[in-house]
């Protein structure tokens, strides 16, 4: 059974305070575990710091899958304890650019003056550029694809023996809408990756009104995310990458309004910190 736990659900920048306690203030990080011990970490936002403290002492390999290198998705990386443990092999998967390797791009953050430790000084780190051919980590089969978001950005499709989870935290497929209508599936960013996902974790950062001032910034509204989930035939959908300006009450309201307005045929679950999903069923 593949089990996913949300350690960071916030987009753009971490927030704190009493009004964001329930959904959480940490930026994007999701833990994926299989029964056989396979461990993936999706993105290295500030949520990865707490995740790092819960790694079992007998863990020998961790794969961190970065969707892209915007700060809210890598800021926690330097504070992920297992990176410094010489007993653990850490593999980082993430997009290179046309001119810089993944290592060189990450080193822009993990080096002075922004950070005291050099990436090259980490004991057992291997970097892998994506997108790439499908690859296997333990019992999990992983597919990658570039998706619509500024700069090289991928989504991940993770296939376990019992089902499939898809992670698209930063995604603006609605740029392809013409007069509010979706084009055919071949013209929808991320469609192949997300099709028939048992669990879809997808960007839902904006309200319709906010989006009008942020077209092209790489994110979705609740409307876009609900429609994308319907287009790909997801069985369960989790709105994710919450705007830092949206407090808990507003996120509750946005979710309820969207359910009422769009009448999804799939299950929709709130994306809050520490929510746990077993593919196909909620714990």
């Amino acid at each position: 059974m593949m089990r996913l736990r949300l350690f960071g659900t916030r987009g753009s920048v971490a927030v704190s305070g009493a009004d964001t306690v329930r959904y959480g203030g940490n930026t994007s990080t999701v833990e994926v575990r299989e029964d056989d011990g396979t461990l993936l970490v999706l993105d290295a936002g500030t949520g990865i710091c707490r995740l790092g403290k819960q790694i079992q002492p007998d863990t020998r390999r961790i794969d961190i899958l970065l969707t892209h290198l915007h700060m809210d998705h890598i800021q926690g990386l330097g504070f992920f304890g297992p990176l410094y443990d010489p007993a653990i092999d850490t593999h980082i998967w993430g997009p290179a650019s046309s001119t810089l390797s993944l290592e060189a791009r990450l080193s822009r953050y993990l080096s002075p003056p922004l950070f005291p430790v050099h990436l090259r000084d980490l004991p057992r780190l291997t970097c892998h550029p994506v997108p790439c051919d499908p690859f296997q980590v333990g019992s999990l089969h992983i597919k990658t694809s570039l998706v619509c978001h500024p700069g090289p950005t991928v989504g991940y499709r993770i296939e376990g023996k019992d089902g499939t989870a898809v992670y698209l935290p930063d995604h603006e497929p609605a740029l392809a809408l013409r007069e509010g209508r979706w084009l055919g599936s071949e013209w929808i960013s991320g469609f192949d990756l997300a099709t028939h996902a048992d669990l879809l974790i997808h960007d839902a950062q904006y309200t319709d009104e906010e989006y009008q001032l942020r077209v092209g910034w790489g994110h979705s509204t609740y409307r876009h995310a609900f429609e994308f989930a319907a287009q790909v035939g997801a069985k369960e959908f989790v709105p994710f990458h919450h705007d830092p300006a949206h407090d808990d009450d507003m996120l509750d309201q946005l979710l309820e309004n969207a359910k009422r307005q769009f009448k999804p045929t799939c299950r929709v679950s709130a994306g809050y910190e520490d929510a746990i999903f077993e593919v196909g069923s909620r714990v």
Binding site: L146, P152, L175, S185, W187, S189
Partner: protein, 129 residues
């Protein structure tokens, strides 16, 4: 099967331009042309739909500036697909509405982050007579 993101983005870009743009896959199959291109080519994209390279490179009856036929292989976008480089030419085409138009065409290859060849795009303008 989804198109590569670069092709999806190119189509999106084309939808927001007033410059005519014609988009093909690596084999030259027509994927899309935008509304400004419809005015030059003489038919709406919804009416033509996708089209193989052999068809579009002859259906618009390309002629050089002396009125002589241009072989499909000498059309800029076909050169871009074959040689994977930009190409440019002035020529006449006869649109699907039967009207002859004097245009100039600049075509570019679309190459992904890892050097993968994804197709080509032709930008073209109608020249004032």
């Amino acid at each position: 099967m989804s198109q590569p993101i670069q092709i999806i983005l190119m189509r999106q870009l084309a939808g927001y331009l007033s410059v005519p743009l014609f988009l093909v896959d690596p084999k030259g199959n027509l994927l899309f042309y935008n509304e400004p291109a419809e005015a030059v080519l003489g038919r709406r994209f919804e009416e033509t739909g996708a089209m193989p390279a052999e068809e579009w490179s002859s259906v618009f009856t390309p002629l050089d500036e002396d009125g002589q036929p241009i072989s499909p292989e000498q059309v800029p976008l076909r050169i871009t697909l074959t040689e994977r480089r930009p190409a440019y030419r002035r020529l006449f085409i006869r649109g699907l509405d039967g009207v002859s138009r004097h245009i100039e065409v600049a075509s570019i290859p679309i190459v992904g982050l890892q050097g993968e060849f994804l197709g080509g795009a032709a930008l073209f303008w109608e020249l004032p007579e």
